[in-house]
Symmetry: C2
Subunit: 152 residues, 2 copies
DNA sequence: TTACCTGCAAAGGGTTTGCAGAGTC
DNA sequence: GACTCTGCAAACCCTTTGCAGGTAA
């Protein structure tokens, strides 16, 4: 699927969701959706606000928080807490399932994909009689680059 | 090891840490250590503050935050972020390694122990050239009790 | 037209900071 | 006695809320 089709698809999914829930299809909501899917990686409310303002499309923080909630509920993005009390978000639609390594030395956030985790998750769900909806896995430590730069 | 010996051991470890770092051994610091290890499960600054105040040992929030940082650095407690922007802590000294399930329906936090995770962690560390120091794993979903209480 | 949404600004709540006095070493 | 730590209160910052005006349906 090329990028344009992908965007149309996103809009379609979000529209479906808004219709289903009886929410209005306002231009702000689609502008925010578009902005989020235009950049890679993690973002937070502040960075989103600034990047939209930069493009002369200023929306209030209240609207950002409101729309983010809708995107979370429609499973187009997910929420992260990277231990610093600033909430981060990430688009998940049509992205490979992945988890994160966080370097406590340089702050780098590194994605990785390990299918074994999925199996373990299912095992735990069975064992604990728990219905999984999503997970949040972070490994903390020192990344390759920082290890190299430390004196022996 | 009985409880009293365990407490003495904790004090010893914390004392060693304070000495090593050149921090002072104030009564507040040991009172906070004692309070934290007197209760089970997770706590946050507010609950810690209140439970100490309850015992007529009031310490300021500033001192709590200060001491918590020291306890984190000495690896006696760990920090959690349960997605609600309230930082939670948990003692880890002499506790079995475990991770958490979080019920998004009733808010329950359920501990579990799955040794397979440890192996996966080591595999990822090798694969990604990453030196793990600690991990933060949360599975979200619906717990047993909430599943039962939902109408079919 | 009506109900919901947006924008603004103020309130809220957890965390951090600055400063004076107290206490450790 | 010097210097760090504590306590207090204010500052800080992200997030939420209340309200008036605007707009999708």
């Amino acid at each position: 699927m090329n990028q344009e089709n992908s965007r149309e698809n996103l809009k379609y999914i979000f529209t479906q969701y808004l219709d289903k829930k009886g929410h209005r299809k306002t231009p702000e909501r689609f502008a925010i959706l578009d902005e989020i899917f235009s950049f890679q990686g993690h973002f937070n409310i502040k960075s989103l606000y600034l990047s939209m303002k930069d493009k002369n499309y200023t929306v209030s923080r209240a609207t950002l928080y409101n729309t983010i909630d809708l995107l979370l509920e429609s499973n187009l993005i997910i929420k992260h807490q990277f231990r610093n009390n600033i909430t981060c978000y990430e688009k998940i639609f049509e992205c490979a399932r992945h988890d994160h390594l966080i370097c406590t030395s340089c702050g780098a956030v590194i994605e990785f994909n390990e299918p074994e985790i999925q199996k373990t998750e299912e095992k735990i769900a069975r064992m604990m009689n728990f219905t999984m909806t999503h997970r949040s896995i972070y490994f903390y430590g020192i990344c390759e680059n920082c290890l190299i730069s430390v004196c022996p």
